[in-house]
Amino acid sequence: MNTTIPLSAQLINLCAAVILLLAFAMLAQRRVMPLINLFGFQGLVLAGSTLVVAVTTHQAHLYWSAGLTLLLKAMLLPWILHRLVRSLYVKWDVESLVNVPTTMLIGIALVIVAFNVAQPISLLSHTISRGTLGIALATVMLAFLMMITRTKAIPQVVGFLAMENGLFLAATSATYGMPMVVELGIALDVLVGVIILGVFFFQIRDQFDSLDISHMEHLKDD
């Protein structure tokens, strides 16, 4: 049995590791602008890793999906978010994150859980990138954790989009990506979703004078 890992697989694993690190960095980032930049960077690495898979496996549709990722997640979405942040005047917003160390520890626990869940599945997979399935699931869970711990609207949305990044990574690592038509549909949904949220942010700010979600805790069953 050949135990040396081919260069392409090493590259893919490196990319996945960077994506996971970025997910942790986003979890700890207090300021809005750097958070969006981290998200854009994550998209860039994701596109890079998809490209490596595409080159090594010669899957034509993966080139397209790498290009789509680059365009949408590394450029268009961060650009829209940047514009939103500027026009909403929340550029200098700093969130008071409670207990970053604890959050990080929970994050590490989630990563371990994710690897355990993904282990049996990736054993069944035959793709070159199967080792990254655990990382993909961990990214999804970290993004989920980020959505829970944040109280401001924009970081919550960034968390939501990061979750989508993780799912995309899962799709490429387990199966070389979903069929093209599905991927296009998902991309369209994400884009429309962000645009609708942009509109929505202005409505929230006009009503609450801030984008702090903690103001919105009035609807409950008493």
Binding site: I121, V140, M147, L167, T175, V182, F200, I213, H218, D221
Partner: protein, 481 residues
């Protein structure tokens, strides 16, 4: 016919975006909905006489199971659009809505119908996901249409919770594709349901089990299954009433339909009753939780939203039990619930407009102000509570007897939940309908016909189900296995 069915809501949705304040815009909304319904009726006839068919290659697939949902969706979509005409004009007259927002409402309404019809008819499990997510997106801005703090909060909760839920469903879909790809190859048809059904016995059980859990929790969030049901009462209470009616009557059904499609695949792949047991568990939990929350509600739309959760729990439970009788009862109950609940929301909409509030304590004596609305609400409530001779009684009776026979331990839980629900809802609606009153006249006469059309159908189906409908339900139930 199928192309027309999808084209009408899409084109009219686009047209209504640009139509703006033209006087014909409200009529276009109704005409388009009637057109969609006619197209769905013709499509149903075609399927009934000629059997299942594909469209656009193999991308869309219509069989007796989903054509039934298509017809139901188009019908409730049509009556809701008729109801919303005068309702929205009253809201405008009360100064709660401006003309641009009415425009947004109408175009989003049609696009929402479009996404639901795509979700129902697509053969591709990936496109099903895309359409479900799109259905969320089109309704987020409808829930926040009034732009009040409460409605914005509700819409935000709706977006985030359903977004998280639907992300889990996407992971489930990825796992499904992964399992399928090993059998079907990468030819691009590994997500087509018709192909998946053919090979479902060969799908890896371990992956399918994990996939089904993610799909159930994901789409279950949109069905309103506990514990991710929190968005539902808020979205129903704070959005405009026609939106509550289509959310309750249609969107929940479509999400449940997605779960049913997945269950067929999971049942074939996983030995034993894994998927069914999971659905029974979630169904019972949801039913029980919702029943006990019903009594604590003060807002009338919130209360009926919890009632929707309760019924969705019951239906999920029924499909979880499986077998010809339970599946039949499940389909029947879905139909009954859609028709009855949307009728209730129509009546509630006019009642709250008259009373000027949604607080149940302030709505009194509807029967004196407007006997038609009062009786509409009362009859609708009796129907949804499962009183004979309404159709809900028939389906609940079938579910209960089936549960007694095969899962006797669930009987006390079911009876307890249904009993608590009955006491809570009836105790609150009764003084609203009868009792002393102080209410105002509405500038536009309410459209009350849809309420009674729905209730008449529910009544008729309670007394007599036409043979072709029985056959249809049987066929759909058989497809579930």
């Amino acid at each position: 016919m199928f192309v027309i069915l999808l084209a009408i809501p899409l084109v009219s949705g686009a047209l209504l975006t640009v139509a703006g304040e033209r006087t014909w815009a409200p009529h276009l909304n109704i005409i388009a909905s009637v057109g969609t319904f006619l197209a769905s009726a013709l499509l149903t006839m075609e399927i009934v006489t000629r059997g299942p068919r594909f469209a656009f290659g193999e991308q869309f697939f219509i069989d007796s199971m989903n054509v039934f949902f298509v017809a139901l969706t188009a019908f409730v979509g049509m009556t809701t659009s008729i109801f919303s005409g005068p309702y929205m004009r009253n809201e405008q007259a009360h100064g709660r809505l401006s003309i641009p927002r009415l425009r947004l409402y109408k175009s989003m309404y049609q696009l929402f119908m479009f996404t639901m019809l795509v979700a129902l008819t697509t053969n591709n499990m990936g496109i099903l996901w895309v359409a479900m997510e799109a259905a969320t997106l089109t309704t987020v801005l409808l829930v926040s249409l009034y732009r009040t703090p409460a409605s914005l909060e509700a819409a935000w909760k709706y977006f985030i919770l359903c977004g998280v839920g639907i992300a889990q469903a996407l992971f489930g879909t990825i796992l499904l594709y992964f399992a399928a790809e090993r059998v079907l190859g990468e030819a691009g048809n590994a997500l087509l349901w018709t192909h998946l059904v053919d090979v479902r016995g060969q799908l890896e059980p371990a992956i399918m089990a994990l996939a089904f859990i993610f799909l159930l929790v994901g789409y279950g969030t949109k069905v309103g299954l506990a514990p991710l049901h929190n968005w539902l009462p808020d979205a129903h209470a704070e959005g405009p009433t026609p939106v509550s009616a289509v959310l309750s009557g249609l969107l929940l059904n479509v999400a449940l339909y997605a779960i049913l499609r997945c269950k067929v695949l999971a049942d074939g792949a996983i030995p034993g009753e894994f998927a069914g047991n999971l659905m029974m568990g979630f169904g019972l939990l949801t039913l029980l939780l919702a029943a006990f929350f019903l009594g604590r509600q003060k807002d009338i739309k919130r209360m009926f939203a919890y009632s929707s959760i309760e019924h969705m729990g019951l239906i999920t439970f029924a499909f979880g039990m499986g077998g010809a009788v339970a599946n039949f009862a499940g389909f029947l109950h879905m139909t009954m619930h859609s028709l009855t609940k949307s009728a209730i929301f129509f009546a509630v909409g006019h009642a709250t407009q008259k009373a000027g509030t949604q607080m149940m304590a302030d709505i009194r004596g509807l029967i004196r102000i407007n006997p038609v609305i009062g009786w509409g609400l009362m009859l609708g409530t009796l129907a949804i509570l499962g009183m004979p001779p309404f159709g809900v009684f028939a389906s609940e009776f079938m579910i209960l007897t089936h549960a007694m026979k095969y899962y006797p331990w669930t009987t006390p839980i079911l009876l307890l939940a249904l009993g608590v629900a009955f006491a809570s809802i009836f105790g609150k609606v009764q003084p609203m309908v009868f009792g002393e009153t102080h209410a105002k006249r509405l500038p536009h006469a309410p459209a009350i016909t849809p309420v009674f059309v729905h209730l008449a159908i529910v009544l008729m189906l309670g007394l007599y189900i036409p043979p072709y409908l029985t056959r249809w339900f049987h066929e759909a139930a058989r497809m579930l296995g």
